[in-house]
Amino acid sequence: MTGQNNPHACLDPVHEMSRRRVLGVLGGLAGFGSLLNPTVSRALEKKEKQVCLIWLDGGISQYESWHPRPGTRFAGPFRSIPTRVPGVHFSELMQHTARIADKISVIRTMETKDPNHSTGVPRIQRGDPIDRGVVYPYLGSAVSKLLGPADPALPPYIWIKPGNGGFIHREAGFLGARHGALALGDGRPPVHIHRPSGISAENDTARNALRKKANERFRANRGAAEIDAYETSYEMAERLMARKEIFDESALSQKDRERYGSHPLGRHILQARQLLEAGVRFIKVNSYHWDTHGDNFNMSQRLVPQVDRPFAALVEDLDERGMLDNVLVVLMSEFGRTPNINSRMGRDHWPDCWSLALAGCGIRQGAIIGETAKDGAWVDGTGYDIGDLFHTIFTVLGIDSKRARYEHKGQKLAIAHDKCKSIREVMS
């Protein structure tokens, strides 16, 4: 087989760590190391850092969420309401989050560069680093590479999304297919995790015993690394099949379902909590259709509560379980929406001044970061670039974002934009 390590690769600590792990495995499931007893919440016991990224694709309007400006020329029809933090107001569409505003930070002065979706989403989710002629990984693949799985029996990067799932390689960029995401289409795991109904557990064990015996015989006078790699992939498959209850929605209480909401985003954020509790390192939850070029206000009235409820519930639950110290929650889009309301009662793309929210993992509680000018249209002073956010995320996860490097074909590559830095104001 030709899958040898490149002998010309440099010896960055990041790579040493990943190299020592078992031979890579396609589909974001690299590095299931030792055979540990798969007890629930191994990651929690060990206080492993975890991430939940809630991605509102298309761009949530900051005016209808984090940064309402009632009474100004850019205001919509919604009122603003006070939050648990004195003097801080959110849109009335964020009533649940307003209750937990004292547990989160909101950055109101994101200032990025890309007003187009097609390049906006990948560019933002890759942290828009300096162009070095390579395709950078998305945040989930990056964290999965840099920290590995939090629980060796579980895939490090799971992506909950509407529509189809599977093993999604493209987010991994130059890290290679194995650092992609295991995607749960509408929350469902890949179909092959299920043993077909015709095969009993007993017969499954028996047929696997036959398989293992055959492998033992074959390897008796071989012992090549390739054989180990094949066996490892089966061990992992068996372990994940044994843990498939972590994907079982029926284990969730009716009360929680009501608290998070029955729409897909609510169900998926609740499922994210379940996977965080199980010990998955990085979970991304996607919601689409936030691109309100037309009819922004009716759409926001329908959409914003769909994220408000489950986001607040997630932060509350993590806090209650003592998990908020080690779990970072990020709620964001690729940009915000224009102050001006267009002729179709819509708001267009606005990367120049937009908002996002962070919670947990050493993020300040109850902080509003950044001053805006001209009724919220522009940043007053210097805004934060997406590279700053990436440095911040890596830093709170315990990664030295200024010094850690990826190694790719002999090049050492910064993990976040070289000229950006952590947003100290948001870190406690």
Binding site: M1, G3, V25, R132, V191, H192, P196, N208, M236
Partner: protein
């Protein structure tokens, strides 16, 4: 001897050097591998191991049990050579090597205007004749879309200059020059930015254009810059280069008087054709015997295909800092390949005839596993998605039936939904079944299939896929049905192992099989399916060893 040498010398002056003898390279391979082995070599494989390997390598599929029995019973001394020659001339060879070359060259992407079927047919035609690798590569690089080999243009994709530069450097020179687009390679001292831009200069005149008459797209060349200017991201000074291949002199683009630049005028929406066509020049310069790097890279890649590892390894790291395991062998092989006019079948045959290729994959003696670069034992290789599909189908006795399955245009198979569980129906056509296997076992489009890593999703698929399990239900005289007709464990075991693993079972294996059937006497058919399943899922099956 002395008296004839003068005659030989005289003759060699009068006529071109004779092509290398048929067995010459084979002997050279074995002597070089032995000389640098540093330890004992594994014995030559037994007939069964050889028979499986040669079928996977040349025909892309395991043999039938009937073929295996016949070969094992054949006592003639020249049976291996006869088999190699028969397979090299078979239809299966051209079909399988079309798959291999196509995947290597296109990385499973479908770019440009040439239909995949036409491209496959082009490769098939090349392989069915006496394939000369230099001519095939020349045809692909010089292609404009005119003439009978229009499909060769597929290799160039959409004609993107950077894409072509990267692909040609990697595939035909073994140089992964991605980094060198923006700056000299940081760790490979000899890979400069000039290497990238020199190759780019050859390709920069290429442009896609549509003929207004036949409405087809062509990849033509238009008058471009004689010198390409480039800048390192680390320095602010610019440099320029004309067309140049690494290690060869820079090409001077002829300066022609205005009005004299073209050999034919614009026509049918296509631009005028320049007299000097740099991409056509590249096709010739690259594949010229003067460019040893091309021959060296070619033999290294074909060698790796059969031997499991390049003499220079990894394959895209061909540079002085990455020493070949057998430098003299590589040079000799490249030289002989040139003298045989890049005859691909001659090269494959010469390697396959060697003891080094035919060695057993078992460890030599009791020693520790030797380093792979010693080639002291045959190196196991993962089956390609296509090899795996066809071998699973043949092993389970479902090949003929499945190959004939045609898509029902009224039914839409939702492949993504199949993997998510929202689409319950099994794929019903051969094409869809093949696509399901490629999605599971292949690399994503655009990524070279050089690195095989067994994935969790692949194991889950082989364990639990309903389609695959359906092949283990007795039907249409398939393997499970045939095994059901045998009475004794010995008969069942013999037929099972021949069908799936292309060998006879050991006594211990037959004993175990008997015990399993005895224990599961009340569910015999299911138990037979489980025995087949276990071997299909075994490492022995999933490797070409």
């Amino acid at each position: 001897m002395r008296t004839t040498s003068l005659l030989a010398l005289t003759l060699s002056l009068a006529i071109p050097p004779l092509p290398a003898g048929d067995g010459q390279l084979t002997g050279i391979i074995d002597s070089h591998i032995a000389r640098r082995s540093g330890g004992s070599l594994s014995p030559v494989s037994d007939d069964a191991e050889f028979f499986r390997r040669i079928h996977l390598d040349l025909a892309g599929i395991i043999p039938t049990p009937g073929e295996t029995r016949k070969f094992l019973a054949d006592a003639s001394p020249g049976k291996r050579t006869a088999l190699i020659d028969r397979l090299l001339g078979s239809k299966d060879f051209s079909v399988h090597w079309t798959d291999l070359l196509s995947v290597e060259l296109l990385k499973r992407q479908n770019l440009g205007k040439v239909a995949p079927g036409e491209w496959q047919a082009f490769l098939r035609r090349c392989l069915e004749q006496k394939p000369h690798w230099n001519r095939i590569v020349h045809a692909m690089i010089a292609a404009t879309g005119t003439g009978p080999d229009r499909a060769a243009m597929k290799f160039l994709g959409t004609g993107g200059h950077h894409q072509m530069t990267r692909d040609i450097a990697m595939l035909f020179l073994g140089m992964d020059l991605e980094c060198a687009r923006c700056h000299d390679h940081p760790s490979v001292k000899t890979w400069g930015q000039d290497n990238y831009w020199g190759l780019y200069a050859y390709l920069s005149w290429t442009k896609a254009a549509t003929n207004s008459k036949d409405k087809k797209e062509y990849l033509v060349e238009v008058l471009g810059k004689n010198e390409i200017e480039y800048q390192s991201v680390f320095e602010s000074v610019s440099d320029t280069t004309g067309p140049q291949l690494p290690g060869l002199p820079e090409k001077t683009v002829p300066v022609l008087a205005k009005g004299e630049e073209f050999s034919s005028p614009a026509a049918n929406g296509l631009p005028p054709v320049p007299k000097f066509l740099p991409r056509k020049e590249l096709a010739a310069d690259l594949t010229s015997p003067k460019n040893l790097a091309f021959a060296r890279n070619s033999v290294n890649r074909f060698w790796a295909r059969l031997m499991g590892r390049g003499i220079i390894h990894p394959l895209d790291q061909v540079h002085p800092g990455n020493a070949p395991s057998h430098p003299q062998l590589l040079e000799k092989m490249a030289g002989l390949f040139i003298s045989r006019d890049y005859d691909l079948k001659w090269l494959l045959r010469s390697i396959i005839l060697s003891d080094s290729y035919q060695r057993s994959s078992s460890r030599p003696g009791k020693s520790a596993t030797p380093g792979p670069e010693s080639y002291r034992q045959a190196l196991p290789r993962a089956l390609t998605p296509e090899q795996l599909l066809h071998s699973v189908l043949r092993a389970t006795g479902n090949l003929e039936k499945t190959r004939k399955l045609k898509a029902d245009p009224a039914k839409k198979f939702d492949r993504k939904g199949y993997f998510t569980g929202t689409h319950q129906e099994l794929p019903e056509s051969y094409e869809e079944i093949r696509a399901v296997f490629i999605q599971t076992f292949g690399q994503p489009p655009g990524e070279p299939e050089t690195e095989f890593t067994p994935g969790l999703n692949q194991s889950l698929f082989l364990m639990n896929d309903r389609l695959l399990l359906s092949w283990l239900q007795p039907a249409d005289n398939n393997l499970v049905q045939r095994l059901g007709a045998f009475k004794t464990p010995a008969k069942i075991s013999e037929n099972l192992y021949l069908a799936v693993l292309t060998r006879l079972p050991t006594e211990a294996e037959t004993t175990d099989l008997g015990l399993y059937l005895e224990k599961n006497g009340d569910r015999r058919t299911a138990a037979l399916g489980e025995l087949v399943w276990a071997l299909i899922n075994s490492t022995e099956f999933r490797l070409n060893h």
